[in-house]
């Protein structure tokens, strides 16, 4: 059963649509991640959902109720900002219990809840400290606890990991996933880090220039992108233009037999670096010279020159070296073609 239903949601800033007719559904208890470049409207969407701003068009339904015009303080939605924004004049405990205090909970109940959440955040002993005395990672955890204290039906996270260094980021990421499993509240997180999105999401929604490009499971986003932009956003791609007809891709003097079912016409092939295998040169195979080699973790990224083209491919570190002649074996079943014909 869908928990959040957005219909034709549009927000216009100074004549430019920040969000352009977004329609989507988020299921109850789902972990949805919004991905896109900065300025694509991710944060605007979260602010609309939280009720801080009102849409120019369209509607938001949460748990069956139309909340489009309901104020932020009346919605069962909590937004955690990118900055932790802990109130500096309140102790950690009072910060966590802030929402409960606003709802008129008793002092005893507030304290108990704060303690409980601090334990859950693995920060049991900092209740009496002030936010200025905490590290960045601790602050972000307290901000999460403060949001959880209200036990919201919907949790919105606006790049909660963006300001942390890599190790803390991994820890907090694990913690967020764990908390989501425990409480099962519908969660929408914004990030510009595709890896983060891949690891955490039940489903990923890709936004670009205020438009929803694709919404799918991480596996499908990666392996079955519906547009060039989505393909380019996740993983590293080689883009090669050519002509596709009857299962033959014609480019730069090479003809490849491919299984793609597309109308004949000019296309752009998106070939991921890991779908190209570097081998010893054989007949009927594009060959080139390794121009550059960069270590990236366990593997190396090779730049191979074939005529006028430069192709990036991943392979084991020591099998090839700069200046070596290599052949490329491309796994065409994994290649994504997008049409370049106008009016597609």
């Amino acid at each position: 059963m869908p928990d959040i239903v957005l219909n034709d949601l549009t927000k216009i800033y100074k004549d430019v649509p920040a969000l352009d007719s977004i329609s989507m559904e988020v299921a109850d208890g789902e972990f949805m991640v919004l991905v896109g470049h900065s300025g694509c409207g991710k944060t605007t969407l979260l602010r609309l959902l939280s009720g801080l701003i009102q849409p120019d068009r369209g509607s938001i339904r949460i748990a069956g109720n139309d909340v489009t015009c309901v104020k932020a303080e009346k919605r069962d939605v909590v937004l955690v900002f990118q900055e932790s924004l802990l109130f500096p004049h309140l102790t950690v405990e009072d910060n966590i219990a802030f929402g409960l205090k606003m709802q008129g909970c008793s002092q005893k109940k507030r304290k108990q809840k704060a303690q409980e959440l601090l334990k859950l955040m693995q920060l049991p002993d900092i209740g009496r400290r002030y936010p200025a005395q905490l590290s960045g990672g601790q602050q972000q955890r307290v901000a999460l606890a403060r949001a959880l204290a209200l036990e919201p039906k919907v949790m919105l996270l606006d790049e909660p990991l963006a300001n942390l260094d890599p190790r803390l980021r991994d820890d907090l990421r694990e913690l967020i996933v764990k908390l989501h499993k425990k409480f099962r509240m519908t969660t929408i997180m914004v990030t510009h880090d595709q890896n983060e999105a891949m690891v955490m999401a039940d489903r990923i929604a890709v936004l670009m220039d205020g438009k929803l490009l694709q919404i799918d499971k991480p596996y499908d986003i990666y392996n079955k992108p519906t547009s060039r932009d989505v393909a380019a956003l996740f993983g590293q791609c080689n883009f090669i233009t050519g002509y596709l007809e009857d299962g033959v891709f014609d480019t730069n003097g090479y003809r490849f037999t491919v299984s793609a079912l597309k109308k004949p016409g000019r296309v752009e092939a998106c070939i991921r670096t890991e779908h190209i295998k570097l081998v010893r040169p054989e007949k009927n195979m594009p060959t080139g010279v390794v121009e550059d080699k960069k270590y990236v973790g366990g593997q190396s990224l090779f730049k191979v020159n074939i005529g006028s083209l430069s192709i990036l491919a991943k392979a084991n570190n020591f099998d090839f070296y700069t200046g070596m002649k290599v052949g490329l074996r491309i796994d065409w079943s994994q290649v994504f073609f997008s049409s370049l014909e106008s009016g597609k």
């Binding site: 801080l52 303080e73 939605v77 924004l85 109130f87 709802q103 002030y130 200025a132 209200l150």
Partner: protein, 268 residues
Amino acid sequence: MLMSNVFYKLIVVCMVIVFVLPFLVLLVWSFSQSWPSNALFPNELGLRGWTYIFSPHSKVLSSLGLSLLISLLVTGIAMLICIPAGKALGIYDFAGKNIVEILVLAPIIIPTITVGMGIHIVFIKYGLADTVVGVILIQLTVVLPYGIRIFASIYKALGTKWEEQAKVLKADFWQSFRYVTLPFLYPGIVSAGILMFNVSFSQYFLTFLIGGGKVVTLPVLLFPFVNSGDRVVASGLSLIFILSSLVLMIIIEKTVSNRVEQTEFYYL
């Protein structure tokens, strides 16, 4: 290290000379009977000045009371106006914002005499001249620009993010002001309060003009003594003047800053 120590001590000594010495001179003046201009020290000490000041017919205590009342009311009312006005100028964009900003500052840019003369005629028309209410109103116009400036810059630095955070945590308008915004404003309340109180407390010209000599505040009482050369009484009055505003400043500072547990939080 030693050099900088000497340097700091020198600064302290200079401060003492600049701020405390005039005080001492006033103190000695107020306790002297006669002090000819060619003498380094007064010939004769006495309590003439202080006896006069504390005698009921001099009206010093009643005018001190009136001065405090007017200045506290002015500061209080100004505070209620400054905070929302500062928020409007600091955060929101609206048509004619620049003009409003200039108008708000006008009373301290344009000479007080111009402001006072213009308003005087209007006040006479509405029966506000020669009244305490009139004096409070005219002092408000002089005092407001300072407060509005201070709160506008605080609100500009704060932005809307804290209020939004409070809202998201289910605080309504007043709760968000009371529990989130107000603590950020405390330092501003201290400085704006002290500034506005002192501007109002030492206001002579406008009080005299609008009060028409009938609203006798401490500066209005003090001026004739300075003018007529009765230095003994004038010095005593000046001391009372300084001490009362000093005591008030300390009270404001203490009561308000106690609420802000985090001193490093005074960054605004």
